[in-house]
């Protein structure tokens, strides 16, 4: 065992750090409201940041930093570890450190996609030019993918897609749906579905915004009305959709914005030192000491899970339970951290971003609201615990 970074890795971390500090605009902290392991305020979704975020991603892409974890044969850097180091640093600054296409789409296409699809999609994804949105959830079927209703009916060289998706994060700022649709209407449950890439610009695709609890437009409802999708946009085999989604899920669970946890902790520690130090407010100091000590341990633990997952992927293994554990732990920690942060800041935490008096740019209450999304999205905490009990421990089903 070896818990140390290599010299090359340390040098690389420093290189990324220098790059990010240089590239971020001076007012970035006031503009990026990303909260770790949450879905509602990801910087890239904020319209006013779109231009910058797209450009920033292309710069990362130009350096190869969006595909560090892909195999070298596919044009990648061949090092999950380096990708994880870059993500750690970039997310510390709450900058966009990848997207659905680079983190989930690319690796899944590499795993199950056709050679044609690899040729067509991998290079622009790696360059940060195109992005996907996850088209899984449907009205009245969040974590329950088996009740999928959207259909894709074969018609010559095309599929005709009809249906509705919801909670579609970033659909309005992406290029393609990463869409799960039922291709065999006779098959029920976890069978007869296919994964498709559907261009947002195709006729019949309608995207409507949903404002989330934080007050951001990050989610959408998307309607598909006789959308004609050429069959070459099928990801993996026909009727293999649920399997392919399972493959994609493993990649998804690594996206926790790990550095942003440490960043918030650093900011809270700074706030407490300045505000509650030297017996200014003993009550607050005692509360903060105990709560932040506990958070600090949890963050260390999360890093442990993170590097272990990364290392497994580096070995070419697919983390399953480890990924469930990290999804569960990180999203619950995200909530706990937000609750502690609100307590530590007290009344001023209630002030909205933009307010002159809002400490930490008002990100704490925004984060408190945003953090509820983590344990709900991408398989609720309840579902993760069930997976661990059944598959990890072999306990009888409930």
């Amino acid at each position: 065992m070896n818990f140390a970074f290599s010299e090359e890795e340390i040098r690389f971390r420093s290189e990324v750090d220098t790059f990010v500090r240089r590239e971020l605009p001076p007012d970035w902290d006031e503009r990026s409201f990303y909260w770790p392991a949450a879905y509602g305020a990801i910087a890239v979704f904020e319209e006013e940041h779109q231009a910058f975020c797209r450009a920033f991603l292309r710069q990362l892409g130009a350096r190869g930093w969006l595909s560090l974890g892909w195999p070298e044969a596919c044009g990648g850097g061949g090092s999950m570890m380096k990708q994880a180091i870059a993500d750690d640093v970039i997310s510390y600054y709450r900058a966009p450190s990848g997207n659905i296409a680079t983190v989930i789409g690319g690796p899944t296409i590499i795993f199950v996609g056709s050679e044609e699809m690899k040729r067509e999609f991998l290079p622009p994804i790696a360059r940060g030019e195109i992005n996907f949105w996850l088209g899984y959830s449907e009205p009245n079927a969040g974590s329950d993918l088996a009740s999928l209703k959207t259909t894709a009916v074969s018609d010559g060289d095309d599929f005709i897609v009809n249906g509705q998706k919801i909670w579609s994060s970033g659909a309005h700022v992406s290029d393609y749906a990463w869409l799960l649709a039922r291709t065999d209407p006779a098959a029920g449950g976890h069978r007869g579905a296919t994964l498709l890439l559907v261009d947002n610009n195709l006729p019949g695709v309608t995207i409507r915004p949903i404002e989330n609890i934080v007050g951001f437009h990050s989610f959408n409802e998307v309607f598909f009305d006789d959308v004609r999708v050429p069959k070459r946009f099928m990801v993996g085999g026909l009727n293999k959709g649920f399997y392919n989604v399972m493959v994609a899920l493993q990649f998804e669970r690594l996206v926790v914005g790990i550095g942003a946890f440490r960043r918030i902790l650093d900011e809270l520690v700074g706030y407490v030192k300045e505000r509650y130090g030297r017996k200014k407010d003993r009550v607050k100091n005692t509360l903060a000491r105990n709560a932040l000590a506990s958070i600090a341990i949890d963050i260390e633990v999360l890093y442990g899970l993170y590097w272990q997952n990364v290392w497994m992927m580096e070995q070419g293994r697919v983390p399953e339970l480890e990924a469930s554990a990290m999804k569960l732990f990180s999203t619950e920690l995200s909530r706990k951290l937000a609750g502690v942060a609100v307590d530590v800041l007290g009344l001023p935490a209630q002030l909205d971003r933009g307010s002159l008096y809002a400490p930490l740019q008002g990100r704490v209450m925004a984060g408190y609201l945003d953090a509820v999304s983590g344990p709900i999205g991408a398989g609720t905490s309840e579902i993760q615990r069930g997976i661990i009990a059944t598959r990890g421990l072999g306990l009888p089903r409930a």
């Binding site: 879905y39 509602g40 959830s137 009245n140 079927a141 969040g142 974590s143 329950d144 088996a146 009740s147 919801i166 909670w167 949903i210 404002e211 989330n212 609890i213 934080v214 007050g215 989610f219 407010d281 009550v283 607050k284 005692t286 509360l287 909530r335 609750g339 609100v342 307590d343 007290g346 009344l347 001023p348 935490a349 209630q350 002030l351 909205d352 933009g354 307010s355 008096y357 008002g362 209450m365 925004a366 408190y368 609201l369 509820v372 999304s373 344990p375 709900i376 999205g377 609720t380 905490s381 309840e382 409930a398």
Partner: protein, 378 residues
């Protein structure tokens, strides 16, 4: 079991008001803020703003049980901003005038506040002094027939619309608690200014302001009670304020759970209604048990108040239980709503946004704990 027909008739009239005059407007008021002169005018006509106060000043002269009924029904409001605005008027800014004010202060301010003609605010919190009232810096210096007021107050609910403030300021330099004055400060005096409405994440239907006082001359007759005793009066007023969280909490928590149960009963997941999942059922009933016990601690407090006893400790206990319970219930129920809970302007998300501050405002949980510990002699 604890309320008779008269109480229940009163309850029905409050509930009717909530259902007809408040809830239909809540979505709009969350955007624009509630128009308090209009709302309080209607409530004043119905006698809702002076339940416990002396009929001589337009009050109903009723007891704490009626007040409890009133607050319980306000718990049905779809959002916490409006009930907070009302409670500032009835239970935070006026009790000290009622208890310690002169006849003329009562006629000039209490009576029109009861009638809903004047909007009141309570001005205690300052920048840099949250729960720690003793750290106040705003100062009122006697000068002839006036106290000259300088300083600022923040997080003042109703502050943008208030006609007068009940304001705590330092009047002396002693280290103890006997160097503060509590004043009635009309907001049309020179030297008063209000910052733009503070933009809060929650309680958006209620306005919250930062206020500045620049050599504002408060007439000496606007001092409530004795100079130097303002801190003590405010501590007594705090009990009226903190009590309001209790009936609101158990009523609203029950409403939140009911609406969640209605939702997960209809929501089919993996072929079965979500309500059949044991982990969710068990979570819900744990909260119900806590709600029920909070209700009966509250009724105990009402009985103690009726008997004229000191309820500082019990109210602090109630608030200490209520805030975290409210947070658990609103966040736990939001989880059961799944993605729906994460949409803006669904009621569950509004509850979640509005309730976090209940563990902080009016004395944070830690302050309640310190009070209880002192009362216990630890």
């Amino acid at each position: 079991m604890y309320f008779d027909e008269t109480h229940e008739a009163f309850r029905a009239s409050v509930r009717r008001f909530v259902d007809r005059e408040i809830n239909p407007h809540m979505d709009a008021w969350e955007k624009e803020g509630a128009p308090l002169h209009d709302l309080f005018g209607k409530m004043g006509e119905l006698g809702f703003l002076g339940i416990r106060y002396d009929p001589r000043y337009g009050g109903q002269g009723l007891d704490y049980w009626y007040e409890t009924v009133f607050i319980e029904e306000l718990g049905h409001v779809h959002g916490w901003g409006v009930p907070t605005a009302i409670m500032v008027q009835t239970n935070m800014a006026t009790p000290a005038i009622d208890m310690f004010g002169t006849e003329s202060l009562k006629e000039q301010y209490l009576a029109p506040a009861i009638a809903g003609k004047l909007v009141a605010a309570i001005a205690v919190t300052e920048p840099g002094a949250g729960s720690d009232v003793a750290a106040l810096k705003t100062r009122a210096v006697r000068d002839g027939d006036a106290y000259v007021l300088n300083g600022s107050k923040t997080f003042i609910t109703n502050g943008c619309q208030a006609d007068f403030l009940t304001l705590l300021a330092r009047t002396g330099d002693g280290p103890g608690h006997h160097c503060y004055g509590l004043f009635v400060v009309p907001t049309d005096l020179p030297g008063f200014s209000v910052s733009k409405r503070l933009d809060k994440v929650g309680l958006r239907s209620s306005d919250t302001a930062e206020l500045f006082f620049d050599n504002l001359r408060i007439p000496v007759q606007n001092l409530i009670g004795k100079e130097g005793e303002g801190f003590i009066y405010q501590m007594m007023q705090f009990q009226h304020e903190r009590f309001t969280v209790l009936p609101m909490t158990y009523t609203a928590c029950r409403d939140i759970i009911d609406m969640t149960v209605a939702y997960i009963r209809e929501r089919i997941v993996f072929g079965k209604p979500l309500i059949t999942k044991q982990v969710l059922r068990h979570r819900l009933v744990e909260w119900l048990a806590e709600i029920e016990s909070l209700r009966h601690l509250t009724y105990h407090i009402v009985r103690m108040k009726m008997a004229g006893r000191d309820v500082t400790k019990e109210i602090s206990m109630g608030k200490l239980l209520a805030g975290p319970l409210l947070n658990r219930v609103s966040s736990g129920c939001l989880q059961m709503f799944g993605g729906m809970g994460f949409m803006n302007e669904t009621l569950i998300s509004r509850h979640f946004r509005d309730t976090r501050v209940m563990s902080i405002a009016g004395g944070a949980d830690e302050v309640m704990k310190d009070i209880i510990a002192r009362q216990e002699g630890f």
